[in-house]
Symmetry: C2
Subunit: 184 residues, 2 copies
């Protein structure tokens, strides 16, 4: 399956607006409640946490890693990604502020990505992930889009969790109520 | 957990715009591909199919059932819901047309719901589901919202499926790639 960069960019460009349409001014019942404590300890994430995590990815993960691949190839591994950075970075901010910030940093990154004017052969260039080993620029960019989807999937699941009792017997028909999270 | 009708309406009001922001003019790679054949035969759904299904629910399921509860209580069971109606009803339409239609029928239904001016005691009124037995108006309305979420969850999962190979080794970190669908 060849990676079509236009498909990736089309999706990446829409995620901020989709989250904005779903979450802005939605009652905190939906956006600030999570799925409770994890069995191994620690809080699960709510929609507010996830949007903060997406912002942190824009700042430190996707484009910085793409540029590392282009500059250093496999000679230097990516900096590990801090999955809890939003706990401090989102502090004191409102969800509308985070949605605005996500839209802004995503748009700037896509502008930078387009300016790289990548050719198909560039997508085969290889980099070094600190845990996964050798990866390609193509895989990194596809993962950027799929990472949006995994967190949209998560936000929707966390929201549905708030109605797990309210739906009564219908829960048997609602697949999202049976989703155990698959670790994210 | 008491059912707060404002929370339900807030969510129901946002789903058409969220789907519109995510799906309108997105490449068909994302919107017309599904998850392949089911093991028990038949096609899985793509985003286009799901939006058609949501439209059919607006026309035949949620508000008609709410009005049946108010009119007939437990004396008359709901008409079964046709889960495959969109196969004929969506034929010849484009996804933007379906997104417009979903927004229109949802808005009309919410207007009708608000006009019912339901009081908390109305939410306890009971009706008869053809398979689930006795249900309450509260459960029906909560399920209307949760049904949006289960299908958002599904659409996002089906989209992620299209990148299951493109992400390469990152798939281990992407929960959505491990979601087996939970039957919807």
């Amino acid at each position: 399956m060849e990676h079509n960069l236009n498909n990736t960019i089309s999706l990446l460009a829409r995620t901020p607006a989709a989250l904005n349409a779903l979450l802005r001014d939605l009652p905190e019942f939906w956006t600030l409640q999570n799925e409770g404590e994890k069995t191994e300890g620690g809080k699960t994430w709510n929609a507010f946490d996830v949007v903060g995590h997406l912002i942190h990815g824009e700042k430190t993960d996707w484009m910085p890693r793409a540029k590392m691949i282009l500059q250093f190839g496999e000679t230097k591994s990516f900096a590990p990604f801090d999955r809890l950075a939003q706990e401090t970075e989102s502090r004191g901010k409102s969800l509308p502020q985070l949605l605005d910030e996500f839209a802004r940093v995503r748009a700037a990154n896509l502008e930078e990505l387009r300016a790289l004017n990548l050719h198909p052969e560039d997508l085969d260039r290889r980099g070094l992930h600190p845990s996964l080993g050798v990866v390609t620029l193509s895989q990194l960019l596809a993962t950027w889009a799929a990472h949006d989807l995994t967190h949209l999937h998560q936000i929707v699941r966390v929201m549905a969790y708030q109605y797990r009792e309210a739906v009564g017997p219908w829960s048997v028909y609602l697949g999202v109520m049976k989703c155990n999270g698959h670790s994210s």
